[in-house]
Subunit: 178 residues, 2 copies
């Protein structure tokens, strides 16, 4: 079973070491981990030759996701109260393909609590006067909703700790059990 490893892990100081750790954890459970920085097995299609590198990366990741049976997303808060947008794009992409999405986060707080802490406010709106979603979920309801509807789970651990992969490993165990 091929597992797409979505996450801002690609932005860590040594993303290839991270990829190796995550793929080893997959392999130990009989899963094949696919990291966003992997080349496509068949190489890039010829008609991408004129595209800037950034747009080729985007298409490569879409092709990776389409080639996988399940997606596991690192949804730890990134540069704000919510998860990394590139990762969340990929969660939405896989959800539309109708396949299971699993999420993990090294932040156990509910989304509303985390958002209030980020802005230093106590009420129903943020510093810009925008409503703070307060459904007791881990992040924006499209994310929690997609994971639940797809048959996945959202595993949260206290953090922050970018090196702790225990919540990720719990997702892999849940994939095997599902």
């Amino acid at each position: 079973m091929r597992v797409y490893l979505a996450g801002p892990d690609v932005f860590l100081a040594d993303p290839l070491a991270r990829a190796a750790r995550m793929k080893a954890a997959c392999r130990a459970r009989g899963l094949v981990g696919v990291f966003p920085l992997d080349p496509l097995p068949q190489g890039d299609p010829e008609d991408w030759a004129g595209l800037p590198e950034a747009l080729r990366i985007a298409r490569r990741n879409e092709a990776h996701i389409a080639s996988c049976d399940v997606l596991v997303a690192n949804l730890s808060p990134f540069r704000g109260p919510s998860a990394d947008v590139g990762t969340v794009f990929e969660v939405g992409f896989m959800r539309a393909l109708g396949r299971p999405v699993f999420g993990w986060s090294n932040d156990a707080r509910p989304f509303a609590e985390r958002t209030r802490a980020f802005f230093g406010v106590a009420g129903e709106v943020d510093a810009a006067g925008m409503l703070i979603e307060d459904f007791g979920l881990a992040d924006n309801l499209m994310i929690d909703g997609a994971i639940a509807a797809s048959g996945g789970v959202f595993v949260r651990r206290a953090g922050p700790d970018w090196q702790d992969l225990s919540a990720f490993e719990s997702c892999l165990a849940a994939i095997i059990a599902s």
Copy 2:
């Protein structure tokens, strides 16, 4: 042509007034705007009855997107250097359906410049030591890449100004012209 109006506009103080403005702009061009807070024309399926409201909203929005021909996303920065994650989820969802995605933002700065300003740093990494993507794009490359690959455009105006819909209207004009 049905247009899904993705965006954090749902979190504004008066989301229904915003919906009315955006739908009127669609109607003026012969388009039908579908706002995330709209009920489903056929009502919620019976088997959603046991779901918490947040998860019903998520499924309703997925159904809205699937019923639309094109998606227009408000990708203005939201609670950080990037767009709202709920909106970006929906961009990924529509992209996987293979239909056109258009984006607009009331922030004209490139993503890297905006991210550096957010953290008050000048180099290649953010305050947590994570790489700052620097491809000259408007946001994370999955977003810009999906819009370009789908045949859409990403319209940016200087901001911030949550009330200025001119970039949104430029997207509608581009949809008509495409």
